[in-house]
Protein backbone atom coordinates (compact mmCIF):
# COMPACT_ATOMS: atom_id res chain seq x y z
CA UNK A 1 0.00 0.00 0.00
CA UNK A 2 2.69 2.45 0.95
CA UNK A 3 4.71 1.55 -2.07
CA UNK A 4 1.79 2.02 -4.41
CA UNK A 5 0.98 5.40 -2.97
CA UNK A 6 4.59 6.37 -3.21
CA UNK A 7 4.78 5.45 -6.86
CA UNK A 8 1.58 7.33 -7.66
CA UNK A 9 2.67 10.51 -6.00
CA UNK A 10 6.25 10.27 -7.31
CA UNK A 11 5.33 9.61 -10.90
CA UNK A 12 2.71 12.29 -11.03
CA UNK A 13 5.12 14.75 -9.53
CA UNK A 14 7.72 13.92 -12.16
CA UNK A 15 5.21 14.10 -14.98
CA UNK A 16 4.01 17.50 -13.96
CA UNK A 17 7.60 18.59 -13.45
CA UNK A 18 8.36 17.59 -17.00
CA UNK A 19 5.26 19.48 -18.05
CA UNK A 20 6.75 22.62 -16.55
CA UNK A 21 9.72 22.22 -18.85
CA UNK A 22 7.98 21.24 -22.01
CA UNK A 23 4.72 23.22 -22.14
CA UNK A 24 4.70 26.28 -24.30
CA UNK A 25 2.38 28.54 -22.39
CA UNK A 26 3.82 30.17 -19.27
CA UNK A 27 0.56 29.94 -17.38
CA UNK A 28 0.37 26.22 -18.10
CA UNK A 29 3.88 25.79 -16.81
CA UNK A 30 3.06 27.70 -13.65
CA UNK A 31 -0.03 25.64 -12.95
CA UNK A 32 1.87 22.42 -13.60
CA UNK A 33 4.40 23.54 -11.08
CA UNK A 34 1.69 24.13 -8.51
CA UNK A 35 0.38 20.59 -8.95
CA UNK A 36 3.88 19.22 -8.78
CA UNK A 37 4.48 21.00 -5.51
CA UNK A 38 1.27 19.62 -4.04
CA UNK A 39 2.36 16.09 -4.90
CA UNK A 40 5.71 16.88 -3.33
CA UNK A 41 3.85 17.81 -0.14
CA UNK A 42 2.13 14.45 -0.34
CA UNK A 43 5.49 12.76 -0.50
CA UNK A 44 6.54 14.70 2.59
CA UNK A 45 3.51 13.34 4.41
CA UNK A 46 4.46 9.79 3.48
CA UNK A 47 7.75 10.55 5.18
CA UNK A 48 5.93 11.53 8.39
CA UNK A 49 6.98 15.17 7.94
CA UNK A 50 3.51 16.62 8.41
CA UNK A 51 4.57 20.10 9.46
CA UNK A 52 6.89 20.50 6.55
CA UNK A 53 4.28 19.24 4.15
CA UNK A 54 1.80 21.81 5.31
CA UNK A 55 4.39 24.54 5.17
CA UNK A 56 5.21 23.49 1.63
CA UNK A 57 1.62 23.85 0.51
CA UNK A 58 1.06 27.10 2.32
CA UNK A 59 4.23 28.88 1.38
CA UNK A 60 5.42 27.36 -1.83
CA UNK A 61 2.28 26.41 -3.60
CA UNK A 62 0.22 29.09 -1.96
CA UNK A 63 2.42 32.19 -1.90
CA UNK A 64 5.37 31.69 -4.22
CA UNK A 65 3.47 30.32 -7.16
CA UNK A 66 0.80 32.96 -6.79
CA UNK A 67 3.55 35.53 -7.05
CA UNK A 68 4.77 33.84 -10.22
CA UNK A 69 1.32 34.00 -11.71
CA UNK A 70 0.97 37.63 -10.80
CA UNK A 71 4.18 38.43 -12.60
CA UNK A 72 3.17 36.42 -15.64
CA UNK A 73 -0.02 38.38 -15.81
CA UNK A 74 1.82 41.67 -15.18
CA UNK A 75 4.24 41.08 -18.01
CA UNK A 76 1.41 39.86 -20.21
CA UNK A 77 3.27 36.86 -21.44
CA UNK A 78 1.78 34.98 -24.31
CA UNK A 79 2.50 31.66 -25.80
CA UNK A 80 6.03 31.48 -27.11
CA UNK A 81 6.53 31.38 -30.82
CA UNK A 82 8.68 28.41 -31.64
CA UNK A 83 12.16 29.62 -32.36
CA UNK A 84 14.78 27.81 -34.29
CA UNK A 85 16.41 24.91 -32.58
CA UNK A 86 19.39 25.77 -30.51
CA UNK A 87 21.81 22.92 -31.21
CA UNK A 88 24.33 24.14 -28.64
CA UNK A 89 21.81 24.22 -25.81
CA UNK A 90 20.30 20.83 -26.69
CA UNK A 91 23.72 19.20 -26.92
CA UNK A 92 24.90 20.73 -23.70
CA UNK A 93 21.68 19.96 -21.96
CA UNK A 94 21.72 16.40 -23.20
CA UNK A 95 25.26 15.90 -22.04
CA UNK A 96 24.60 17.23 -18.59
CA UNK A 97 21.35 15.30 -18.19
CA UNK A 98 22.79 12.00 -19.23
CA UNK A 99 25.84 12.61 -17.11
CA UNK A 100 23.71 13.21 -14.09
CA UNK A 101 21.53 10.21 -14.74
CA UNK A 102 24.56 8.03 -15.06
CA UNK A 103 26.02 9.29 -11.83
CA UNK A 104 22.74 8.92 -10.03
CA UNK A 105 22.46 5.33 -11.12
CA UNK A 106 26.03 4.64 -10.12
CA UNK A 107 25.59 6.09 -6.66
CA UNK A 108 22.31 4.44 -5.90
CA UNK A 109 23.50 1.04 -7.01
CA UNK A 110 26.58 1.10 -4.82
CA UNK A 111 26.78 -0.71 -1.53
CA UNK A 112 25.95 2.23 0.67
CA UNK A 113 22.84 1.13 2.36
CA UNK A 114 20.34 2.85 0.14
CA UNK A 115 18.05 -0.12 0.39
CA UNK A 116 17.18 0.38 4.03
CA UNK A 117 13.55 0.36 4.94
CA UNK A 118 11.85 3.03 6.93
CA UNK A 119 12.74 2.50 10.57
CA UNK A 120 9.89 2.73 13.09
CA UNK A 121 9.45 6.01 14.91
CA UNK A 122 7.80 6.71 18.22
CA UNK A 123 4.83 9.03 18.15
CA UNK A 124 5.28 10.58 21.54
CA UNK A 125 5.97 14.01 20.15
CA UNK A 126 4.22 15.40 17.16
CA UNK A 127 6.69 16.41 14.55
CA UNK A 128 5.46 20.01 14.58
CA UNK A 129 6.44 20.43 18.19
CA UNK A 130 9.69 18.56 17.57
CA UNK A 131 10.61 20.83 14.72
CA UNK A 132 9.55 23.82 16.78
CA UNK A 133 11.71 22.72 19.69
CA UNK A 134 14.71 22.27 17.42
CA UNK A 135 14.08 25.54 15.72
CA UNK A 136 13.77 27.67 18.80
CA UNK A 137 16.26 25.93 21.00
CA UNK A 138 19.16 25.06 18.77
CA UNK A 139 18.63 27.12 15.66
CA UNK A 140 17.42 30.32 17.23
CA UNK A 141 20.07 32.54 15.73
CA UNK A 142 19.54 31.35 12.14
CA UNK A 143 15.86 31.81 12.73
CA UNK A 144 16.31 35.45 13.69
CA UNK A 145 18.61 35.97 10.74
CA UNK A 146 16.00 34.52 8.44
CA UNK A 147 13.65 37.15 9.77
CA UNK A 148 16.08 39.86 8.92
CA UNK A 149 16.57 38.28 5.52
CA UNK A 150 12.90 38.49 4.79
CA UNK A 151 12.85 42.11 5.84
CA UNK A 152 15.76 42.86 3.55
CA UNK A 153 14.07 41.05 0.70
CA UNK A 154 10.94 43.09 1.20
CA UNK A 155 12.80 46.35 1.22
CA UNK A 156 14.80 45.26 -1.82
CA UNK A 157 11.72 44.41 -3.80
CA UNK A 158 10.16 47.77 -3.02
CA UNK A 159 13.29 49.59 -4.12
CA UNK A 160 13.66 47.56 -7.29
CA UNK A 161 10.09 48.13 -8.30
CA UNK A 162 10.20 51.88 -8.15
CA UNK A 163 9.69 53.64 -11.38
CA UNK A 164 12.28 56.25 -12.33
CA UNK A 165 10.94 59.72 -11.61
CA UNK A 166 10.93 61.61 -14.86
Amino acid sequence: MQLALFWVFALLMLVFGAAVVFLRSPVSSALSLVVSLVFMAALFVTLDAFFIGVVQVLVYAGAVMVLFLFIIMLLDLRVERPRRLNIGAWTGGGLVVFGFVGLLGKVLSSELGFDMEKPPVSTQISDASAVGLMLFRYFNLPFQIIGVLLLVATVGVVVLSKKELK
Binding site: A49, V64, K118, V131, G156, L160
Partner: protein
Protein backbone atom coordinates in the same frame (compact mmCIF):
# COMPACT_ATOMS: atom_id res chain seq x y z
CA UNK B 1 7.47 -3.73 0.77
CA UNK B 2 7.82 -0.10 1.60
CA UNK B 3 9.71 2.53 -0.31
CA UNK B 4 13.38 2.48 0.57
CA UNK B 5 15.69 5.41 0.96
CA UNK B 6 17.00 4.67 -2.50
CA UNK B 7 13.54 5.24 -4.00
CA UNK B 8 13.18 8.65 -2.46
CA UNK B 9 16.67 9.68 -3.50
CA UNK B 10 16.13 8.48 -7.03
CA UNK B 11 12.98 10.54 -7.31
CA UNK B 12 14.74 13.54 -5.89
CA UNK B 13 17.57 13.13 -8.35
CA UNK B 14 15.25 12.81 -11.32
CA UNK B 15 13.35 15.91 -10.33
CA UNK B 16 16.64 17.77 -10.05
CA UNK B 17 17.65 16.63 -13.50
CA UNK B 18 14.34 17.75 -14.95
CA UNK B 19 14.85 21.14 -13.40
CA UNK B 20 18.41 21.43 -14.72
CA UNK B 21 17.33 20.45 -18.19
CA UNK B 22 14.68 23.14 -18.04
CA UNK B 23 17.20 25.78 -17.04
CA UNK B 24 19.46 24.92 -19.95
CA UNK B 25 16.82 24.38 -22.61
CA UNK B 26 14.06 26.98 -22.13
CA UNK B 27 14.52 30.50 -23.37
CA UNK B 28 11.83 32.23 -21.34
CA UNK B 29 13.34 33.61 -18.20
CA UNK B 30 10.22 33.09 -16.09
CA UNK B 31 10.20 29.41 -16.97
CA UNK B 32 13.86 29.17 -16.12
CA UNK B 33 13.10 30.63 -12.74
CA UNK B 34 10.37 28.05 -12.16
CA UNK B 35 12.76 25.27 -13.04
CA UNK B 36 15.08 26.64 -10.39
CA UNK B 37 12.27 26.16 -7.91
CA UNK B 38 11.98 22.58 -9.07
CA UNK B 39 15.60 22.03 -8.28
CA UNK B 40 15.22 23.50 -4.83
CA UNK B 41 12.31 21.23 -4.13
CA UNK B 42 14.27 18.21 -5.20
CA UNK B 43 16.85 19.10 -2.62
CA UNK B 44 14.17 19.51 0.01
CA UNK B 45 12.89 16.04 -0.71
CA UNK B 46 16.34 14.61 -0.24
CA UNK B 47 16.71 16.38 3.08
CA UNK B 48 13.41 15.18 4.46
CA UNK B 49 14.12 11.64 3.34
CA UNK B 50 17.44 11.61 5.12
CA UNK B 51 15.88 13.15 8.16
CA UNK B 52 13.24 10.43 8.34
CA UNK B 53 15.58 7.52 7.79
CA UNK B 54 18.08 8.65 10.43
CA UNK B 55 16.42 7.54 13.66
CA UNK B 56 18.22 7.79 16.96
CA UNK B 57 18.01 5.41 19.93
CA UNK B 58 15.02 7.19 21.37
CA UNK B 59 13.05 6.41 18.28
CA UNK B 60 12.93 9.96 17.03
CA UNK B 61 14.09 10.96 13.58
CA UNK B 62 16.86 13.49 13.30
CA UNK B 63 14.91 16.72 12.90
CA UNK B 64 17.91 18.77 11.70
CA UNK B 65 17.00 17.96 8.14
CA UNK B 66 13.49 19.22 8.53
CA UNK B 67 14.64 22.43 10.17
CA UNK B 68 16.95 22.96 7.22
CA UNK B 69 14.06 22.38 4.84
CA UNK B 70 12.13 25.04 6.73
CA UNK B 71 14.94 27.48 6.15
CA UNK B 72 15.30 26.51 2.52
CA UNK B 73 11.63 27.18 1.86
CA UNK B 74 11.87 30.57 3.53
CA UNK B 75 14.95 31.59 1.64
CA UNK B 76 13.47 30.34 -1.60
CA UNK B 77 10.46 32.52 -1.03
CA UNK B 78 12.62 35.58 -0.45
CA UNK B 79 14.71 34.73 -3.47
CA UNK B 80 11.68 34.41 -5.70
CA UNK B 81 10.40 37.78 -4.56
CA UNK B 82 13.63 39.57 -5.26
CA UNK B 83 14.33 37.67 -8.46
CA UNK B 84 10.95 38.47 -9.93
CA UNK B 85 11.40 42.12 -9.02
CA UNK B 86 14.65 42.08 -10.94
CA UNK B 87 12.99 40.42 -13.91
CA UNK B 88 10.29 43.05 -13.92
CA UNK B 89 12.91 45.80 -13.89
CA UNK B 90 14.75 44.04 -16.71
CA UNK B 91 11.54 43.77 -18.71
CA UNK B 92 10.91 47.46 -18.26
CA UNK B 93 14.41 48.25 -19.53
CA UNK B 94 14.71 45.81 -22.40
CA UNK B 95 11.10 44.88 -23.24
CA UNK B 96 12.08 41.24 -23.63
CA UNK B 97 12.10 38.09 -21.56
CA UNK B 98 14.19 35.95 -23.82
CA UNK B 99 17.57 35.17 -22.37
CA UNK B 100 19.21 35.25 -25.78
CA UNK B 101 18.46 38.97 -26.02
CA UNK B 102 20.13 39.61 -22.65
CA UNK B 103 23.76 39.59 -23.75
CA UNK B 104 25.22 42.98 -22.78
CA UNK B 105 28.01 41.28 -20.88
CA UNK B 106 29.23 39.46 -23.96
CA UNK B 107 32.88 40.27 -24.77
Amino acid sequence: MTPTLGHYLAVSGLLFIIGLAGVILRRNIIIIFMCLELMLNAANLSLVAFSRFNVNVAGLPNYNGQVLVFFVITVAAAEVAVGLAIIVALFRAKQTIHVEDLNSLKF
